[in-house]
């Protein structure tokens, strides 16, 4: 049974088909909630709420549109609600800026050897921390792109943004991560231009 058929059946009250939709998406939604809130308990609650909404509203889903985008839109909304309820007032570490801000001019090199498992673990830890600290608008776009694997077009429909905005916001978000990581030590402090002064990239 393909997804379209599954959705059609679920709309008509087929419980097994509905459960298959849950199985197909629960991991993605869980990870989305986890990265959005940084809390496992919140991620579990988010999953529950998203699938309850799916259950209530699936009858109103228009089969001509993309189911995953529709579901992720619900999920984004539930995540935002959860964060709003927790009233996290201050977002530290990053300055919130609009899409027009400048990129860092000095680019530091990456000090990362993928063969080294300690380094890999350390980087993973730092990236988790960096994502958690991103302002919401950057965090959500990174989640949709890199965790949920949505295309730019799907993200633009999911977040109701122009595709051009999606493009530049992803770029800004990764830039913020990169700068954050270079400040926390995963990227060497030595910048490219200094290295060039010294002669060569080796």
């Amino acid at each position: 049974m393909n997804e379209k058929e599954r959705i059609r059946r679920a709309k008509n009250g087929d419980q097994a088909a509905f459960e298959e939709l849950v199985s197909a998406y629960e991991k993605k939604i869980y990870n989305m909630g986890l990265r959005y809130t940084g809390s496992q308990q919140d991620a579990l609650d988010i999953c529950q709420e998203v699938f309850l909404r799916l259950f209530r509203f699936i009858g109103q889903f228009n089969e001509a549109s993309s189911f995953s985008t529709w579901l992720y839109r619900i999920a984004v909304n539930v995540c935002k609600d959860t964060i709003r309820k927790k009233q996290k007032v201050v977002e530290l570490s990053f300055e919130v800026e609009d899409e027009e801000g400048n990129y860092e001019v000095e680019v530091s090199d990456l000090r990362y050897n993928p063969e080294d498992s300690v380094q890999r673990r350390e980087l993973r830890h730092q990236i988790l921390h960096a994502i958690a600290e991103l302002p919401e608008k950057y965090r959500e776009i990174i989640i949709l792109r890199d965790i949920n694997g949505l295309s730019y077009e799907e993200i633009s429909r999911c977040l109701e943004l122009e595709e051009g905005t999606v493009k530049s916001r992803i770029s800004r978000a990764r830039e913020k991560l990169r700068v954050f990581l270079s400040k926390t030590g995963n990227f060497s402090e030595e910048t490219q231009s200094k290295k060039e002064e010294r002669g060569g990239f080796a």
Binding site: K27, Q48, R56, Y103, I127, R178, L181, Q192
Partner: protein
């Protein structure tokens, strides 16, 4: 904007598989020439690859707890449906009212409840299926008749006579075709409602609501609604309530209305377009 800015966006597009082929060569030419961009590209590549590896397995109990929540919801809504069996035909009244309401008034909303004849029997039998009831009006003498009466009281006496004279109710079909046929003038002319209700400022927008809840019944409204959220049209027997799209809004409203003796209609076909991410839901109460 520095000359590199454009390439920074492009390298992200490239990493996401979103850069058009024809622009790839130009990007790499720049990366070859620009040390900062080369360095940045390498970092971005590692970062995005690492994020993609962050995916974690959810705890084992996640699936079962989701499904338990769904089953709870299911039993709640099916008990609500069972309660409404006796007045199932009232949905036909809603259909008629809606036909009169929306024809030519707000094109965006006009599909609401406009069953065409082909879909009608499907919609009706699916509704019947969902309500666990046998859709055979002519065999069930009194409940069907009572239900029909309820409909016609809302719609007008003359329409009742017309329809009862002219229509034979087919087996497996809850409503006579004319009841649901938008083209049928006799009935719509009898309606005490018109399109005025949606000319209210609050509802005049083409706002897409997250969900619609169709309610029938009379009684005292629960006192949980924000001032201004309830728009009453006693002359037309209609009440509109705008609520927040969350459990405290929509779900609480449904439960409160049910507790106050109103009937919630699940599975209403052909509602206007909805958008689950919208922040507001619309409740429409048709007084009977």
């Amino acid at each position: 904007m520095t000359p590199c800015d454009e390439y920074i966006i492009k390298m992200n597009q490239y990493l996401d598989g979103e850069l058009p082929d024809r622009e790839v060569a130009d990007l790499f030419e720049h990366i070859e020439q620009c040390g900062d961009c080369r360095c940045r590209f390498e970092s971005l590549r590692v970062i995005s690859a690492q994020i993609r590896e962050l995916e974690e397995y959810p705890p084992e109990e996640l699936h079962s707890s989701i499904m338990a929540g769904i089953k709870k919801e299911q039993s709640r809504s099916s008990s609500c449906r069972r309660r409404t069996v006796g007045t199932v035909s009232a949905i036909a009244a809603c259909a008629l009212i809606a036909v009169a309401l929306f024809s030519g008034v707000l094109p965006g909303l006009s599909p609401w409840l406009l069953f065409d004849n082909a879909e009608n029997s499907n919609g009706a039998s699916r509704l019947a299926e969902n309500m666990d009831m046998a859709p055979a009006p002519e065999s069930a003498e009194s409940p069907a008749q009572q239900a029909a009466d309820a409909v016609w009281q809302a719609v007008g006496e003359k329409a009742q006579e017309n329809a009862m004279e002219n229509e034979t109710v087919q087996e497996g079909q809850l409503f006579p075709n004319s009841l649901l046929s938008p083209g049928s003038k006799t009935e719509t002319e009898q309606l005490p409602m018109d399109g005025q209700v949606f000319v209210l400022p609050a509802l005049q927008t083409s706002e897409t609501f997250a969900a619609y809840c169709i309610v029938t019944g009379t009684g005292v409204l629960p006192e949980i609604f924000e001032p201004g959220a309830v728009i009453e049209y006693p002359d037309y027997g209609e009440i509109y309530i705008v609520v927040e799209n969350d459990d405290a809004g929509f779900q609480a409203a449904r439960e409160a209305l049910q507790a106050a003796g109103f009937t919630i209609w699940e599975q209403v076909e052909n509602l206007p377009k909805t958008d689950p991410s919208s922040e507001r839901c619309l409740i429409v109460i048709f007084a009977q």
